[in-house]
Point group: C2
Amino acid sequence: MNDSSKILKILKKAPLFENCDPERVALFATQSSIISVEKGQMLFVHEEPAKRFFLILDGWIKTFRETLDGGQVIVDILPAGEIFGETSLFEGEFYPYSAEAVESSRLISMPLSLLKTEIDQDPKMISAMLTNMARIRREQDRELEHLKIQNAPQRIGCFLLRLTKQEEEGQVKIQLPYDKSLVAARLGMQPETFSRALAKLKDATGLEISGSTILLQDIKQLIHYSCSACSSEFPCKDLTEKSGCNL
Amino acid sequence: MNDSSKILKILKKAPLFENCDPERVALFATQSSIISVEKGQMLFVHEEPAKRFFLILDGWIKTFRETLDGGQVIVDILPAGEIFGETSLFEGEFYPYSAEAVESSRLISMPLSLLKTEIDQDPKMISAMLTNMARIRREQDRELEHLKIQNAPQRIGCFLLRLTKQEEEGQVKIQLPYDKSLVAARLGMQPETFSRALAKLKDATGLEISGSTILLQDIKQLIHYSCSACSSEFPCKDLTEKSGCNL
């Protein structure tokens, strides 16, 4: 199978394209390519003119910004299946963040100019963009709420609970998807704050940590500890609902 | 002028409607009404089935959620000109937050069912929704960044700077738009944290507070203090750019 037919097969299943006219998806496939990037490689830089957007096939991509005094703020750590760079269309066609591979990754690289043209012509495409935007907005909403009201140990607990299958009961083993230092940065915590908060969470819920594996003796303890300071009940609605869009 | 023609005149200038077919806007006007609410009155409750969405004519509306343990998280304090409740369309038609008037306010109340129908039929309407969603997303993005990287005094400084005309120089007087306690809640701070942070900001930048008036001896000091921990330079791009959407 050549790249273009491989890409076509993948795009057809991607939320942004699944309801679109097949000819439009085919057009994207012919103008896209699969690229490989090494750990630490930059995909693009914040405020650069945006030319391409990306779908992650495997690996992890960090999106972030730098402050004027040299700090780094992580916007997200994106897993396989996620699309990024596409919202540049609504930011004057400049990238709204930088993107860097946090481990070697493979991606589909697509032209943003084509997305712009197709959105103008296909109401299904613009509707898919809107659903996608609503999902990002909802996730940001939750993150904002938690940054405002949860303490640091609760936020780590919430991060862990979102890694579970959500319907599990009793003893549960969780595998951290990436480095603890990256988890800290993703949660907007200094490494020392993260360590202290993790120790507090351990005391409060009895979880055990061994390398990148976390063992919960009873998932209920962690739910009780973290989810009381959240406006949504566990299981997390945004993870269990198929789609929030009724259009 | 009757309510319907008053509403039509206002809706024609609202970002959500300004590019739409005039007959569609007229349809909204005939199905909408102007309502008055007292301070403390609820417009709707989080997770209630969503029937109406609103445009604020005057006053201030607080959107918020309650956590399971009884805490309140403020999502936003919305001024005149803002629309709210409309994103329920992407939340399974349930309100994603509660809404309450923080002072007596007047609003246009519009049926959500009509918005749903019209979005399906008018690409300009869906495009306006997308632009609106992108703007909310961008604001949330900034707020997330600041919650993660700015300290409390810097966040108050940023809030104050966003109340200025942005092109002002030298001595600047700022009027707080609402109660200090509400500013604290809007920024996700406990009242004590807010008081301490405000005192620190005073020491660092020499600002003077008298009731709800803040006097800056030199706006540059505040810019230097707050904006160094931001990925965007002052003046704030999202306030100075007309629209980020190129579609």
